[in-house]
């Protein structure tokens, strides 16, 4: 019952009035930042470093962690309402969340997102508390070969994400991988597909593509169809209440995705975005009504939302127990901790238990705050859909542009956004699914780098991918998930 004692100790710190205030301020600011498309938690946290400098390290981390998971929590809102992902981790939420909003079920989608986020967050805090020190072993057991295998497994989701035509889905995925190649190659320092432009040296930011292909393309599509404001049921927000059968439907996806998401978060470099895609495609494959995913299935909202919040909490495992940041956001958190005089790492549990357990306890409180804060806000925020079409469309445009410009302060990226918007429109008109492109874009980079790193370590020997047990098992699962649906089909055929 060591964990319980430690947790009580942590609550002793987290329940100090000043720290409760910090948790609240953190999650509140995070929710707002998350709701605005494009504006992610990284810049917000970097701006906060000077503020936290003078604070107690436990308070500082409590505040900053609140902003981080608050942003992931709030990010689903604009994914669902506007088809514009608030943060990278909530792209997958828009696949079913936005169709639900179009069907007049915005309230329900937002409520499911809030419950799923809450449960995903809370489940993974329990994991974080109980097994964090053990899990640091899992995190380090993933080397280049293992990451490559994991990315291959992730990519098999292209099959389930390309609903009508597999060929079109594969074409979209290849385009996604091509976009991920743009920029300076980490392995050789060679410029690839930069067309001599300095602005492309760092590659194309994932959010620029996501906002263009989802949000902007949607705006263009509505304009094209002659937006006379005749959209049926557009103005209905719907009830927030879930029926008993709906609760039953999402219970499984939420619990599975919470666990999956947590373990994805523990791996440095994987994180919330990959976690949410894996959760979404896993549930789509498991569901009996898998073919309604992408058309407003409530499980399609619940799964990625549980997974991304769980992954966000999971990413604190490598940060706090290894001192290794798994993502850009946790890198800023690491920097802030160093400035406050705390060195995360294997010794932190003994040296600064106040910071470690204080933050864990504060996350329980923060998650409750988030739920209580978000639920009553839903009807208010969803009112944005009541706006007249021209206003709403302009608003989406403005949000996307502010988001992109706020990330890089680059006009070039605004042009890219526009370009990807047009590309997304073209894809929609010709029936190419956007989700495989986005998935391949996220995975492509890590997949390529890991593969080449692994081969460089092995001296060019491809056996490295099958000699390592974790890598081999992941590759086998990938193979199974590709072949099983085919076998199933074959078995069905004689009957029909």
């Amino acid at each position: 019952m060591d964990a319980l004692n430690n947790l009580m100790y942590g609550f002793g710190i987290a329940l100090e009035p000043i720290n409760i205030a910090y948790v609240f301020a953190g999650v509140f600011a995070g929710t707002i930042i998350g709701m605005l498309p494009g504006l992610g938690p990284i810049s917000a946290l970097a701006l906060m470093i000077p503020i936290t400098f003078a604070m107690e390290p436990s308070s500082g981390l409590i505040l900053m962690a609140g902003v981080y998971y608050g942003a992931i929590f709030g990010g689903s809102t604009s994914s669902i309402l506007l088809n514009a992902p608030g943060v990278a981790g909530t792209v997958a939420t828009s696949f079913d969340g936005y169709p639900m909003a179009k069907q007049g079920l915005a309230g329900k989608a937002l409520a499911i997102a809030a419950y799923a986020s809450f449960i995903g967050g809370t489940v993974s805090i329990i994991f974080l508390m109980l097994v964090a020190p053990l899990l640091s072993k899992v995190a380090v057991s993933f080397g280049p070969a293992e990451y490559f295998a994991l990315m291959v497994l992730g990519l098999t989701a292209v099959v389930s994400l390309s609903d009508k035509s597999l060929v079109k889905g594969l074409i979209a995925a290849v385009i996604g991988i091509m976009i991920s190649i743009v920029g300076i190659d980490l392995q050789t320092g060679t410029e690839r597909f930069t067309l001599g432009s300095m602005h492309l040296l760092d590659g194309i930011d994932f959010l620029v593509v996501a906002l263009g292909i989802f949000a902007l393309a949607e705006v263009f599509y509505m304009l094209l169809r002659g937006g006379g404001g005749k959209e049926p049921k557009r103005n209905v927000i719907g009830s927030l209440k879930l029926s008993g059968s709906e609760v039953k439907q999402i219970a499984g996806p939420i619990s599975r995705s919470s666990i999956l998401g947590f373990f994805t978060g523990v791996l440095p470099g994987a994180g919330a975005t990959i976690g949410s895609f894996l959760g979404y495609s896993m549930e789509k494959r498991l569901a009996k009504d898998g073919d309604t995913f992408g058309k407003g299935n409530i499980k399609g909202v619940a799964a990625p939302e549980a997974a991304n919040n769980a992954a966000c909490t999971g990413s604190f495992v490598p940060l706090l127990t290894l001192g290794v940041p798994g993502s850009g956001t946790t890198a800023v958190l690491l920097g802030a901790l160093l400035v406050m005089g705390v060195t995360p790492g294997p010794m932190m549990l003994e040296q600064r238990p106040d910071v470690f357990w204080g933050v864990i306890a504060s996350m329980y409180i923060g998650n409750i705050f988030l739920l209580v804060l978000n639920l009553p806000l839903i009807p208010l925020i969803a009112k944005i859909l009541d706006l007249p079409r021209p206003l709403l469309l302009s608003l989406i445009l403005i949000f996307c542009m502010i988001g992109v410009y706020g990330m890089s302060f680059s006009v070039f990226d605004l042009m890219l956004l526009l370009g990807f918007g047009l590309m997304g429109l073209g894809m929609r008109l010709f029936g190419f699914p956007a989700a495989p492109l986005i998935l391949a874009l996220i995975l492509g980079n890590i997949m390529e780098e890991s593969m080449r790193r692994a081969l460089q370590i092995s001296g060019g020997d491809w056996m490295i991918f099958v000699e390592k047990p974790i890598s081999l098992s992941l590759l086998l699962i990938a193979l199974l998930s590709l072949t099983l649906p085919l076998l199933k089909k074959r078995r069905k055929r004689p009957v029909t």
Partner: protein, 332 residues
């Protein structure tokens, strides 16, 4: 408007000048900033340049060293190239500074930036960090010589680092190998996306050794750690928790490597402005606020004024280009 605000400035400035007159001889020639100083970090928030810019700005403000604000601005892109191209267009602007470190030499040498250090005005070198060579705690290698002996036997031995080939970590370890009598290009350098990423891979046994910044490694070393340091690139042993780590020179390899950080300004910055900033930064390094932040971040003071810094940068460029050409990575 301008004349009005200038007048107002004079009204404020006069009594202040009188007050501070005891300490510094005020003469008509002395330059002071007339508006906020743009202090550019040529990267996203969170990295080394960004930390330097934000820390310096904060200390200057807290210690009230300047009556003008230092505004931290992030201009990410191209490993710095986007920011450098912008600043290069701002010739003569005395209100524009940027944080700098070896990439300002390395990126142009790799052919990825039209502008290099000679296009800008050196203002001051502030701090330095050193490279550290790490192995897993249970590794058979006890000294850097053990590692290099093994490398002679098996050139395939992988050494991870936190940056792309041809950038700091790679140059540092390739130069070390060359000083130890090996071919610089014989090091099987595996680039990871950051020092932390590289160290995780070392803990998991995916690479044999890792080269990274000493400051970055502090949290990973010490009691109960899964990693062990073989040597550090400093001329003398470091203090604090790294005091037990021998230098390369102690182990018979005459090689040091600095990961310096400093401040540069727009091209052709007026001399008076350079003098103002030199004094400002020299004064800043003496303050308690700076020393506290510096110790927490594991930085080591390494002040050089504009002229010394300029000479130092030229020497570094020569050193880097010779290692890069040994590696076959010189593109300029």
């Amino acid at each position: 408007m301008t004349s009005l605000s200038l007048k107002r400035l004079a009204v404020i400035a006069l009594p202040m000048a009188a007050l501070s007159g005891m300490a510094t001889a005020v003469n008509a020639q002395e330059w002071t900033p007339s508006r906020s100083i743009e202090f550019v970090a040529p990267a996203n928030p969170g990295g080394g340049w960004d930390t330097l810019v934000r820390t310096v700005s904060r200390v200057i403000q807290e210690e009230q060293l300047s009556d003008r604000n230092f505004a931290a601005i992030n201009v990410p892109g191209g490993g710095g190239a986007v920011a450098w191209a912008q600043i290069a267009r701002d010739s003569g602007n005395p209100h524009k500074l940027f944080a700098t470190s070896p990439p300002v030499i390395l990126v142009p040498l790799a052919g990825a930036s039209r502008y290099d250090h000679s296009d800008f005005t050196p203002v001051a070198r502030l701090i330095t960090d050193y490279s550290i060579l790490l192995v897993a705690a249970d590794s058979e290698y006890e000294t850097i010589n053990d590692l290099f002996d093994a490398l002679r036997e098996n050139p395939n031995l992988s050494i991870g680092g936190g940056s792309a080939p041809g950038s700091m970590d790679h140059i540092s370890v390739a130069g070390l190998a060359s000083a130890a009598g090996l071919e610089a290009s014989s090091v099987n350098y595996i680039p990871f996306s950051g020092g932390g990423d590289a160290m995780t891979n070392l803990m998991g046994g995916h690479v044999e050794a890792v080269i990274t910044g000493a400051g970055e490694s502090v949290g990973q070393l010490g009691e109960g750690s899964q990693l062990r340091a073989l040597g550090v690139s400093a001329p003398e042993r470091l203090s604090g928790s790294l005091a037990d780590v021998p230098t390369y020179q102690e182990q018979g390899v005459d090689y040091t490597f600095d990961i310096w950080r400093g401040v540069m300004g727009a091209p052709d910055m007026p001399e008076e402005a350079v003098a103002y900033y030199e004094d400002l930064f020299a004064e800043m390094l003496e303050t308690d606020g700076w020393q506290r932040a510096r110790d927490q971040l594991g930085w080591i003071d390494a002040y050089q004024d504009s002229e010394e810094f300029g000479v130092f940068l030229d020497e570094q460029q020569e050193l880097f280009s010779s290692v890069l050409s040994d590696l076959g990575l010189l593109r300029q």
